[in-house]
């Protein structure tokens, strides 16, 4: 499913592919650095509440977003910094949200778990596991009823697969021919519960058969493979107006949240997965073809660091939401 050519003299197509892959690297690096910074700021007490890091899983959001158009919709979970960044939500607006500031992308109401950006059809982070799936089905239904050719991408974890809403939502989407791309980020754990201790059948992609939904699984550490699989799946959803389930096999390098002492897996296991760090893999892929030069990579690192620093500065500079506006956003209809 990859598009890699053998390493010979670079054709224009290969150049384009390389520069695209550099873009992928840039996005993944932004997610990585942004979250490393967020973890630091959490320890410093600048960010509060729950913070779920995506580190290790960057290839998934990054690869999938390549397959989506601006008019497509996205539904994500509480572990959604990566998705928001890859979708183009400004890092400053995300960081400010985690600071709880007025310039945050949810005006300080949502925090890390509830990032929203309607202008990018980023329909938010949902923190009730499984709770985003029905919403995605509804977005797909709206598109169908309005005969629009756009799709909804719905991210959720392996843990969500156990919830009844997974089952109900896949059935609804299939029954009603809805253009929803279901994306299961299988990182092998739901908090501290390993896949084989929460699923009697651990082949998630296969579960789609129970709803006559086509499905496949892809190596979620290889961003190029993710992009290819996501493009194929998204194109199919767009073309057929029917759902598809793509399972992305990945791993989180950090604990579930900042509260998690991470007692349920061995350091060894984590280390083994880090060998397949998506950034390392992509870098190796680029390097194996001789590109890009070290200074280009260093520049990219600098740029990304600068972007993260700017995001923090934006958050620090943000005004706190005034307490007087406490009841402002409860209803869209303003009280008379």
């Amino acid at each position: 499913m990859t598009e890699l050519a053998p390493p010979t003299a670079a054709s224009p197509a290969q150049d384009a592919a390389a520069s695209h892959q550099l873009e992928l690297l840039r996005t993944m690096l932004l997610i990585r650095r942004f979250e490393e910074k967020a973890a630091e700021l959490y320890s410093a007490g600048k960010i509060r509440g729950f913070l779920h890091l995506y580190i290790g899983e960057e290839a998934v959001a990054t690869g999938v977003m390549q397959a989506l158009n601006p008019e497509d919709a996205i539904v994500a979970t509480y572990r959604e910094h990566g998705h928001a960044l890859a979708r183009g939500v400004p890092p400053g607006a995300i960081m400010a949200e985690m600071y709880g500031r007025a310039n945050g992308c949810s005006r300080g109401r949502g925090g890390s778990m509830h990032l929203f950006d309607l202008s990018r059809r980023f329909y938010g982070g949902y923190a009730i596991v499984g709770g985003g799936l029905p919403v995605a089905v509804g977005l797909g239904l709206a598109d169908r009823l309005q005969q629009r050719r756009r799709i909804t991408a719905c991210f959720f974890g392996d843990g969500a697969v156990a919830e009844g809403e997974f089952h109900e939502s896949l059935n609804l989407a299939a029954l009603w021919d809805l253009p929803v791309l279901f994306l299961c980020e299988n990182n092998l754990y739901a908090m501290g519960t390993a896949l084989d201790r929460h699923q009697a059948q651990t082949d998630i992609a296969r579960k789609a058969q129970a709803y006559s939904v086509p499905s496949s699984a892809v190596d979620g550490m290889d961003v190029v493979a993710v992009e290819a699989a996501a493009r194929e799946a998204a194109d199919r959803v767009r073309r057929d107006g029917r759902p598809y389930l793509l399972e992305l096999r990945t791993y989180r390098f950090r604990a579930h949240s900042m509260y998690d002492p991470d007692l349920y897996r061995t350091a060894d296991e984590v280390e083994r997965w880090k060998q397949r760090d998506p950034l390392v893999l992509l870098r190796a892929r680029l390097e194996s073809r001789g590109a890009p030069p070290a200074e280009q990579l260093a520049a990219l690192e600098r740029e990304v660091d600068g972007e993260v620093a700017a995001a923090v500065a934006e958050a620090e500079a943000g005004a706190p939401e005034p307490v007087e506006g406490l009841l402002d956003d409860v209803c869209a209809e303003r009280p008379r």
Partner: protein
């Protein structure tokens, strides 16, 4: 025209479907079956299966799909067969529908109408007879309505669809066959104000939905004894029209709240607490409550009757507050 509450709801649905192509009705058996309470009979033939959409038994997900469809630009009307089954969808309603506007800092809004039947009185026993309006009325971010009359049955729906926020409409199942007059040009109704259904000066009977008839019955009995009871129909359970409630009770100085929910932690207690806060010094007697007894609704008729608010219990509660005549 002479019609029924059921037909009035259907009329409201038809008008809404005709008026706005974004409106559609979705729920279990709303189409081919014609609605569990025959409310939507005929609509499938008129509007087709895309807009009169039969849903599988998946309450959580089709209600959630209503939320998503509202986000996507539609104006869904989701029917949950009864409030009992809505427990399966509460997560979507409370955690998503009611919060999305807020959590997104005002970016998203969810113009979704959820209709459901409620109430006991038909010997359907403990899993089909709840009155959980009070739970919904507890939740910020949603509006809760309870049409008790034909006008409201027809008109509240259209008015609700014009709001940008989620609205939950409770139709008491025993009202569907009730007959009455409905003026042909009845249309949108106000959603903010409680309605005085009978004027009176000696005490206020405060109620809504399926208990309105019983309250009016009690008021008629009290009239025989020379007491004039004002009967207030709350209409909107969230937000409550506190102004009208307090104004009436300040005037009559006595109140009985009638509510088919269980007494403890129910809506009647909320009204009583509001009167405590805002009419304490005007009260000549403590506010009384007539609610459902604290048990799952039993099947046997005499037990169910004994569990529910009835005219005689309302009259007794009222008399206890009134001076002897």
């Amino acid at each position: 025209m002479k019609t029924t509450y059921r037909d009035a709801v259907r009329l409201g649905l038809r008008e809404a479907l005709q008026a706005d192509p974004r409106v559609f009705l979705m729920g279990e058996d709303v189409g081919r079956y014609g609605g569990a309470y025959a409310v939507s009979r005929g609509l499938l033939e008129e509007f087709g299966p895309e807009r009169i959409r039969d849903a599988p038994l998946s309450e959580s997900s089709f209600v959630g799909a209503g939320i998503g469809a509202a986000l996507g630009g539609m104006r869904p009307i989701v029917e949950v067969m009864t409030v009992n089954f809505s427990l399966l969808a509460l997560d979507q309603i409370v955690n998503n529908a009611a919060t999305l506007h807020h959590m997104s800092g005002g970016q998203l809004s969810v113009p979704l109408v959820i209709r459901m039947a409620t109430g006991a009185g038909r010997q359907l026993a403990a899993q089909h007879s709840h009155s959980l309006e009070c739970w919904y009325a507890h939740v910020p971010g949603i509006r809760v309505l309870a049409p008790a009359t034909l006008e409201d049955a027809r008109g509240m729906l259209g008015s609700a669809l014009r709001r940008p926020d989620p609205v939950v409409i409770f139709e008491h199942a025993s009202l569907y066959p009730v007959e009455g007059e409905l003026s042909d040009d009845a249309g949108a109704v106000d959603l903010e104000r409680a309605a005085v259904r009978r004027e009176g000066g000696d005490l206020t009977l405060i109620t809504y939905g399926g208990s309105l008839g019983k309250a009016l019955g009690a008021a008629a009995e009290l009239a025989h004894d020379g007491f004039s009871a004002e009967v207030l129909d709350l209409r909107s359970l969230r937000p409550l029209d506190v102004g009208t409630i307090v104004e009436s009770v300040r005037r009559t100085r006595r109140a009985v709240v009638i509510d088919e929910g269980w007494k403890t932690g129910g809506l009647a207690g909320e009204i009583s607490a509001i009167l405590m806060e805002q009419a304490f010094y005007d009260l000549d007697a403590p506010v009384a409550r007539v609610c459902t007894a604290e048990l799952p609704i039993p099947y046997a008729k005499q037990l169910e009757d004994a569990a529910l608010p009835q005219v005689d219990r309302i009259v007794t509660a009222a008399r206890a507050l009134l001076p002897r005549r």
